[in-house]
Amino acid sequence: MPDFSYGGTQDLAAGAQRLVSKRPDLTMLSRTADSLYWVSRYVERAEYLARILDATTRLTNLPSAYGGAGTEWHSAVLTAGCEEAFAKAYGEANERNVCDFLSFSPDNPSSIRNCLALARSNARAVRTALTSEMWDALNGAWLELQRFEKKRMDREEFARFLDWVKNVSLVFDGSAYRTMLRDDGYWFSRLGVYIERADNTARILDVKYHVLLPDTEQVGGSLDYFQWTTVLREVSALTAYHWVYREAVKPLLIADLLILNRRMPRSLAACYENISRFLDLLGDAYGRQGPAQRQARKTLASLSNTQIETIFEGGLHEFISDFITENNRLGGTIIDQYLQ
């Protein structure tokens, strides 16, 4: 098409104009906010699943002398938080079953496929609340996914698929960051990202907490080293770890990085810094604070005022379980306060 332009910038201009005429008092339909929130959550979840599969594949690719007890695939299912559905559909946790279940299975409500489908159908319902870049990212991904689904994949092809999923999330997230108006629509979409991300990071820690406990037998053995780095890889933090701590990989520091370090974008503290910020922006814009704001601030304060040693003393597992519960509760509060 030689002399034909799509006029993407015009779309943006139209969106900006709409905001002025449509919502002088900054109100949006609860359903629209709800969809924006869930679009982001599902995209974030799809990326997280891809990361788990990627890290697990690496771990199981090691020669068995370095590898673990052969429970890596089971652990992947646990980390994804869908052991019940998996047990019902497959039973045995081997590479093929787990990859299939977490990637394409229609029986798994949180498979990568279903996450992308749900993200897209939520987006479609509120199409005009998204920018065309965001929509194109999701819709393009959905069309592309059907091509992947039809293929028989070897490991190499599957790795390409996982990279592609991570890329979809990057493009979507980048589109939102670069093209969305900074108003409540953007804030709800960000809340979705960070609530989901906090949940994901906490789940990894919850499944792997025993790996991080300091008193396991062969501390410093190669097995531990690879288990630990797997945790870091799952959240894309291996390089970050070395930059932050400039030390060999140690469980305590890994936990510190993923829980308390605000420089680490996937840490629980960083997620709550953002959650609290976006909730405050909403509260200011709407002129009303509510239980969501109070709850987020409380969690942020407790993450700021604690030390990783204290957490270990009180029990890492207990801490993380409590966090997951609190984070879910905040999700529910946000829904009650704004989205229905």
């Binding site: 034909f4 359903r31 159908s121 009303r288």
Partner: protein
């Protein structure tokens, strides 16, 4: 029967409105039209794809074919048409106010009362209810066909939720992008002020109790409705919220939207949901698309529905045949737009003629007579005709019949090159407390198959941009 061609009349002449277009078509390099057509398709596919029509398992929707050669009408032709449309829509609104109010036209014998009373679209809930500002049909789409240089017929009035206006606007948009040189050669009346006019119309009919700046929303059945693209397109252009039934709630006879800041009052609802589904407490109780209590709020005068409930009684095919009398009765004027000659099979003499000429006529069922379908005599086989004959004898009330019309043709770019294809026209007429308005032109639909008279998009019809030359 040779049809009137909008470019060449009976075939020999070149009608003045098409002179520049004809020159341009002759000068155009052979592959240019094909190229532009594929660009136009890309454009539509992109906005279609944007709304996920394409590649969706659950949707059977496709792109409606677009023909790049515009259909051209002159200013005098349009002026006459517009007068006729204003007159017709005025009469439709007066008719509706009458059948739901004093019923003068029934008392005067203009139309048989049972045609109204037995019609399922005659909503009893609306009887003796004063709709806000007395307007029922705020948005009408009147289907017009042309048979010669001077004669336009109304084929059908659409008084419920007429669709297609987004195609009128998008067709113009793509033409402006693809053929700037053509617009330089013609002075074409713009259509892009339609959303402004629609918004002004909707604002003008807000309940008198509403705030100075009424809140308007567009109520859609949702993303799986075939016209969802149009709903979201219009909501966006109007700058109003696109809501589904579940986004609205009714408390103490006031309608609210559920927003992130709590309930927000709604004053005017441009609804694209049929009467039957709009309130499960009053109409179909199995409807999940509607808003429980909406009719209560409407009747309390706290919200305006556009169009009003119950407008379907005015566009019924049996009522249609009485439109000339209805226009005369309510406006005191001769109808400017003619009806297609129509045989009312409920009248024994007419039915006798219809039964004798089934092979030449189009027989259509009227509303509420239960799925008997339609017979196109010239294209039907003996068995189909006999089957219809039995239906007509058993239920003469359920049918009307019309002669097959030679719809006018327009040059159209098809596989074999540029060739004449039959067209109709759906202009959109807006009625508010601020008066009647009508954007020049409308949606031209074209039957892409050679010889076909069926312009419906569901049966292979396409659309064209419609130009009213402003000089």
């Amino acid at each position: 029967m040779a049809a009137f061609d909008e470019m060449t009349g009976s075939g020999a002449e070149l009608r003045p409105a098409y002179e520049a277009l004809d020159r341009w078509l002759k000068d155009a390099p052979p592959d240019m039209l094909a190229l532009r057509r594929s660009q136009a398709e890309l454009f539509f596919r992109r906005i279609g794809i944007t709304f996920a029509v394409y590649g969706d398992e659950e949707s059977t929707e496709r792109l409606i074919p677009f023909d790049i050669i515009p259909r051209v009408l002159t200013k005098p032709e349009w002026t006459r048409l517009e007068q006729g449309l204003r007159q017709r829509v005025t009469a439709l609104n007066m008719f509706l106010a009458d059948v739901y109010g004093p019923k003068e036209c029934l008392k005067a014998g203009i139309i048989p009362p049972d045609l109204v009373y037995r019609n399922a679209c005659y909503q009893l809930e609306m009887v003796d209810f004063q709709v806000p500002h007395g307007i029922y049909c705020h948005i009408a789409g009147i289907d017009i066909v042309r048979v010669d240089a001077d004669t336009f017929y109304v084929l059908e009035d659409n008084a419920r939720t007429p669709s297609g206006v987004s195609y009128m606007m998008e067709n113009r948009e793509v033409m402006l992008r693809l053929f700037p040189e053509l617009f330089a050669m013609h002075r074409v009346a713009p259509v892009d002020n339609y959303p402004d006019q629609l918004l002004a119309t909707l604002r003008s009919v807000a309940p008198r109790t509403s705030a100075a700046d009424p809140t308007i929303c567009l109520l859609t059945p949702g993303q799986y409705n075939s016209a969802f693209y149009e709903h979201s397109f219009l909501a966006d252009k109007l700058g109003v919220e696109l809501v589904e039934g579940s986004d609205l709630l009714v408390r103490d006879d006031v309608v609210y939207m559920r927003t992130t800041q709590g309930p927000k009052r709604v004053d005017v609802i441009y609804r694209r949901i049929d009467d039957d589904f709009i309130d499960p407490l009053v109409f179909r109780s199995d409807s999940v698309l509607g808003v429980p209590g909406l009719i209560g709020a409407y009747k309390a005068g706290n919200v305006t529905l556009a169009n009003a409930v119950g407008t379907g009684v005015a566009d019924d095919k049996a009522v249609y045949s009485y439109m000339p009398e209805i226009v005369r009765f309510f406006t005191g004027e001769e109808p400017i737009l003619k009806n297609v000659p129509t045989f009312r099979c409920r009248e024994p003499e007419a039915n006798a003629y219809v039964l004798d000429n089934l092979d030449k006529l189009v027989v259509k069922e009227v509303n509420g007579s239960g799925g008997y379908g339609m017979l196109v005599g010239p294209h039907a086989n003996k068995a189909q005709i006999e089957a219809f004959r039995r239906k007509l004898i058993a239920h003469p009330d359920g049918f009307i019949a019309q002669p097959t019309l030679a719809l006018s043709t327009c040059p159209t770019f098809v596989a074999s090159g540029v060739a004449p294809r039959h067209v109709d026209l759906r202009p959109y007429v807006l009625s508010g407390a601020n008066g009647i308005s009508c954007v020049p032109g409308g949606l031209t639909r074209v039957a892409l198959q050679e010889g076909s008279l069926v312009v419906n998009s569901s049966q292979g019809g396409g659309t064209k941009d419609t130009w009213i030359l402003d000089a």
